[in-house]
């Protein structure tokens, strides 16, 4: 579903935020992307979803290059940032309808999906209120619902569990599993290693822009924990 080939990204001053990254996410994967602050996770995610331009390497979504066919890639992808800044002057339902229009989701489908996911996250009643009145968690929930409206083949999330209450976090985990059961993929970054260990069938660890570990979660951690593995590879890389 995602194939990252020799991807590098430098910012001002020439320092490489991501250095020659290669990884593959298959259909049906829940893929955890792990790294400390500033390791290059968000840079990679933003490049995957087409927010960030890059010169070195290429990224393919379902076989299409995000550089050459950005529209086709975006049509099958959904992205939820770590801190979703949404259109505060719209109501929740107006925002969802806007996203529905952009992806040309039929009326019946959008009504059914909004009802299902909004009820699941318990924000149906608040959908008529302005987004500016929402808490951080409510904005996060709204962003998740909007991302699920067009049934994406690839769901990309940046730190999705930050700000969610325990019930909403559980709901999101179930949705992620459901998406993958249908043959789609989820790629997300996280600091919560316990969640990654339990939820992801594959993980990758990035440190100072370089991939230091990648593979099946079970094979990587074997008799230890993801936390121990993470500390080990990061320390070893110093």
């Amino acid at each position: 579903m995602i194939e990252i080939k020799n991807f590098s990204k430098s910012y001002k001053g020439g320092k490489k935020a991501v250095d020659n990254l290669n990884l593959k996410v298959e259909a049906g994967d829940i893929f955890g992307f792990i790294g400390h602050n500033g390791a290059g996770k968000s840079t990679t995610i933003k490049a995957i979803v087409g927010i960030l331009d890059f010169e070195e390497g290429d990224i393919f979504i379902d076989g299409r290059s995000v550089k050459e066919k950005p529209m086709e890639c975006k049509r099958i992808t959904a992205y939820i940032p770590d801190n979703p800044d949404l259109y505060e002057h719209l109501t929740g339902i107006q925002f969802l309808n806007f996203i529905g229009d952009v992806f040309q989701v039929s009326r019946e489908e959008r009504e059914e999906r909004i009802q299902r996911y909004a009820d699941g996250f318990e924000i149906t009643g608040a959908l008529g209120d302005l987004i500016s009145s929402y808490s951080h968690g409510m904005k996060q929930k709204l962003a998740i619902i909007s991302a699920l409206l067009h049934k994406p083949k690839l769901l990309v999330l940046d730190e999705p569990f930050v700000g969610l209450d325990p019930k909403a976090a559980l709901n999101l985990k179930n949705i992620m599993k459901e998406i993958c059961k249908e043959g789609n993929s989820v790629f997300f970054s996280t600091h919560v290693l316990e969640v990654a260990e339990k939820l992801c069938n594959k993980v990758a660890i990035i440190n100072q822009g370089k991939l230091v570990a990648c593979g099946e979660t079970k094979e990587l951690i074997q008799n230890t924990t993801l936390e121990n593995l993470f500390m080990e590879v990061v320390e070893h890389d110093k």
Binding site: I51, K74, S132
Partner: protein, 528 residues
């Protein structure tokens, strides 16, 4: 308190003008600032030359004594007019409010720092107007050294009172509106009423009784001008006395009145600052929504709806960028209702009717083109830009939606202009048609020009939308572009009066349409 206010002021300047980014040698921002800085210097030089020329003409007429009152009044009125709508954004619209209020600063300190920010910006403008006028006054009146001290005080005090007054009016509007459910709508309506009031009253003040002005009696004229200036802005009389008569008491009164307004403003607003802020930024929620039949639409329509809601949800956006449309509307009605004699008196141009039919469409276009929402539409995406970037929407559709919003505001008034001018004047067929086409083409040019400029000078990293709307370079250049394109043809038509003006109308319209088309082609190729 003073040192804390200065500390907050320093942070405000660092943040608003991105000073640290400016220090980076190869940053795009630095290059843009250099270009924009050069443009600002050119505009400032032009303003200074204009100011000098006006002062000089008053001096040549032998009425240099009106210069002090004239200078103070001009600076004060412009400061007042442009600060009323800015004040709310700077006082209440900054996104750092929560962080600053949580720190151990007195409310007075916060209010004072926000106020001083506005004051310093206004005073830069005052310097450009007052220094040339002071120079002319010195050349004609040869005053004593007391003049330098007094004029120096005048420069730095000229904006204090009007800035305080504007901030008070802005604060009062915010306070009244905060008591209503639809805070923003009430703020916009109150401010619109205020603007229309200011425009209408300035029109009535501007129509001097010309029958009594005998140009051979300059002294009498000077007194009359002085009296009129003082009636418009009473504190100018004190400054005039202080300069002309070396009246220390008048100077002290001028200083005390200016500073007192500032202190009064800071004290009064500090009492209600937090409650106004809370009322503005808390929203009533019903939390009883039930999913009913949702309407589907095209991508363009969805973007257009989002964009038009963005426009009308912002106080600063409607009042600043929409001002051209409001003024154009007032102009259409005024030209339609007033008879030629009244128009001649207001415009102070004899035989106006014959000239007006040739140039009115361009003059109107210059005013309507000032409503250039597109010049800030992209920048205003700000932190929401990730949404457009990550969605499968082509640049062309995004740009079209923003251009359409601009046209929604300007085209109806342009059509109204065409209808009313056709009703008012009996003229030839070509002119009748051009009364519709010229303003419509200029509306399109202005919208496309604004979009082009905003692409070249975007600013997504803002703390307050007022920074983008009122102080942004894209906003200023976008707003001035249309009027410049429209004023040039007026000068050409007036310069070549022997050539049938209809030829100019057609040729200029074709050129403008061509420029708009080229700009549009350029815009839709842009990658967000």
């Amino acid at each position: 308190m003073i040192s804390n206010s200065m500390l907050l002021l320093k942070i405000l300047f660092l943040n608003q003008f991105k000073i640290n980014e400016l220090k980076e040698k190869d940053s795009k921002y630095r290059r843009n600032v250099i270009l924009v800085g050069i443009s600002i210097i050119i505009v400032f030089v032009m303003m200074a030359v204009y100011s000098f020329a006006i002062g000089w003409s008053l001096g040549v007429m032998g009425i240099a004594k009106v210069i002090p009152g004239y200078g103070i009044t001009i600076v004060s009125l412009i400061t007042l007019f442009f600060s009323i709508f800015k004040s709310n954004g700077i006082l209440f619209g900054m996104k750092d409010y929560d962080m600053i209020v949580a720190l151990p600063f007195r409310t007075r300190t916060i209010v004072a720092s926000r106020f001083l920010y506005m004051y310093i910006m206004n005073t830069l403008f005052a310097l450009v107007i007052m220094i040339p006028l002071g120079l002319v006054y010195y050349m004609f009146e040869k005053p004593t050294s007391f003049f330098f001290f007094t004029w120096f005080c005048g420069i730095f005090l000229s904006t204090l009172l009007p800035t305080a007054l504007a901030a008070m009016i802005g604060g009062l509007i915010a306070y009244i509106a905060s008591h209503f459910k639809y805070t923003n709508v009430v703020s916009i309506l109150l401010s619109l009423a205020l603007v229309i009031g200011i425009i209408l009253s300035s029109m009535s003040l501007g129509s001097m009784d010309e029958s009594s002005t005998d140009l051979s009696r300059f002294t009498q004229l000077g007194e009359q001008i002085s009296k009129q200036i003082n009636s418009v802005y009473p504190p100018s009389e004190l400054f005039e006395k202080a300069i002309n008569n070396q009246d220390i008491a008048a100077l002290l009164s001028f200083i005390i009145i200016s500073v007192a307004w500032y202190v009064l403003f800071v004290q009064v607003l500090s009492l209600k600052y937090k409650s106004i802020h809370t009322a503005i930024f808390t929203h009533s929620t019903k939390s009883n929504y039930k999913i009913q039949n949702l309407k589907t639409s095209s991508v363009l329509k969805a973007l257009y709806r989002k964009e038009i809601k963005r426009f009308f949800s912002s106080y600063a956006y409607v009042l600043n960028v929409g001002m051209g449309a409001i003024m154009a509307f007032i102009m259409v009605i005024a030209v339609f209702v007033l008879n030629p004699e009244q128009l001649e008196r207001i415009a102070k141009i004899p035989n106006i009717q014959n000239m007006l039919i040739k140039i009115i469409a361009f003059v109107f276009s210059a005013v309507i083109a000032m409503s250039c929402t597109t010049s800030v539409a992209l920048s205003l995406e700000g932190k929401n830009l990730w949404i457009l970037k990550s969605l499968p929407i082509g640049t062309k559709t995004i740009m079209n939606s923003k251009i359409l919003v601009n046209l929604t505001i300007t085209i109806p008034i342009a059509i109204l202009f065409g209808i009313l001018m056709n009703l008012k004047w009996k003229t030839d067929f070509i002119t009748r048609i051009m009364l519709f086409i010229i303003p419509i083409i200029y509306s399109i040019l202005s919208a496309v020009w604004g979009m082009f400029i905003n692409i070249k000078l975007p600013n997504y990293d803002w703390e307050s939308e007022t920074t983008v709307i009122k102080q942004g370079m894209s906003s200023a250049i976008g707003m001035l572009g249309g009027p410049v394109f429209a004023i040039v043809p007026v000068l050409i038509i007036l310069a070549f009066q022997t050539v049938p003006y209809q030829i100019f109308h057609i040729v200029i319209t074709l050129i403008v349409a061509g420029i708009a088309w080229l700009l549009y082609r350029n815009i839709i190729k842009y990658q967000l």
